[in-house]
Symmetry: C2
Subunit: 268 residues, 2 copies
């Protein structure tokens, strides 16, 4: 890996519960090293009960300039930030925090950005297009905001938890009037079909949409990272669709996360 460490090394924790499975410490540390920055992304295993005390403690370390947040702490960490971006507020969660000059934490959520950058890397741009999103949870909320912010003509949201679905539709309708509606598992008529549920992680999971109705002109994206090729993506590819599996979302975010951690881009 070619990593090194010294007394002057700056640290960017990534915290979650569990944490041993995350790939960011290696991947993001390699990007920092490639940029010639003496800094490491280090894993921190912290439980929900210990989260506020840990985040307060980390604020005291003057060589910790920022942190990456992962499952399940993204929603709770929103409340631990002193200010957050609009997209983080709509997502209801943060996945990155940077310490500001006054010692406060600024939070952002790049999950939607990463998801759509990953899709763009495969050649699909949502502007003026019709999008079906399955899943109105944390990832889904972030992706929904970004789809609309990037100019989708219409976003239909499907979730088996109808209250959660309706809540997200209502929130987004205030911000993007007339472009948000309720969807179903039927993908017909959409240009982009986007899964933001965990369906496909476990063997025997149902598909998030009716894959028999997918056609080759549709783009199909998935947030699931394990397995590498989730069942939805495999089914879509079998029908000739262009696709982005969850790893595309992860890879597209890496440089952005490093930009935000190191302050190359501000959290604004």
């Amino acid at each position: 890996m070619g990593l090194s460490i010294s007394g002057a090394t700056r640290l960017f924790p990534i915290y979650g519960d569990p944490i041993a499975q995350v790939k960011s410490p290696a991947g993001l540390s390699a990007i920092l090293a490639a940029r010639g920055i003496d800094a490491l992304v280090v894993p921190i295993h912290v439980t929900a009960a210990d989260l506020p005390a840990f985040v307060d403690g980390a604020r005291r370390a003057r060589n910790i300039d920022g942190m990456v947040v992962t499952v399940p702490h993204k929603p709770a960490s929103l409340a631990l930030c002193d200010r957050v971006t609009e997209r983080a507020r709509y997502a209801g969660s943060v996945n990155i925090m940077r310490r500001q000059p006054d010692g406060s934490w600024a939070g952002d959520n790049t999950d939607g950005h990463g998801y759509l950058d990953g899709i763009a890397a495969e050649g699909f741009v949502p502007e003026g297009r019709r999008v079906l999103l399955v899943g109105a949870g944390g990832a889904g909320s972030a992706i929904a905001f970004e789809v609309l912010a990037r100019g989708a003509a219409m976003l239909a949201i499907h979730d088996i938890d109808e209250a959660r679905r309706d809540g997200l539709v209502a929130r987004l309708s205030g911000r993007f009037p007339g472009r948000v509606g309720i969807g179903s598992a039927d993908p017909r008529g959409f240009d982009l079909v986007a899964n933001a549920t965990p369906l496909g992680m476990r063997e025997g999971d149902p598909y998030p949409v009716d894959v028999d109705r997918l056609v080759a002109t549709q783009f199909v994206a998935d947030a699931v990272t394990k397995p590498e090729i989730p069942p939805l993506i495999a089914a879509a590819r079998a029908r000739g669709c262009a696709t982005m599996p969850g790893s595309g979302m992860f890879n597209a975010q890496a440089e952005l996360l490093v930009d935000l951690l190191t302050g190359v881009r501000a959290i604004a």
Copy 2:
């Protein structure tokens, strides 16, 4: 360096103020890597005012199993431990903490141990010998306890701060009756002459003892690590004495610190 990092990497912070100058992150991380342990020693810059909140926050990180403490936080960290060793209590400070199975911090001070191991590596053993120690501060207190615990016949302590000197003599006399007394800058009659003051770090510092009275049969040791060969050591070598500069103390402690951090040796 050949270091690597993953989500499963365990962390051992070393904290101080400042911290950029410390060599332990590289040195101790290399020892961990050589032992095949997926763990890193990482620097943390924390001020005195932020110390309690930082130590409490670090306690919450389940992959932080121990911490190394450096200047100026060794005395204050003693009070942040739930229990400490006898030698740490006599030193009035800790330089290492390990999280116990119940979540509490156990503290130890290995500075005296490292100092005398470094001297032993140069062939001098204090058992039955007469020792002059200059400096009754944190490092001096740790070294004084260890000198007596290793069976020195007599320890004379010199410090220009007489109250501090007398306090240390009184404390140690309770534990090692009849073997502790007051010394001066005159090294005549001692087998080991040990500096535990910072004298020699800055150009123009006076010598901690009257070097003109050193003779070749005496062993001279110094806690000063910068410059690599402090003036006292240079003067002693010019007179034919065997010596140990501060780097010997540092090197002798490294494997011990890793043993304690990783629990190979218990803090008992």
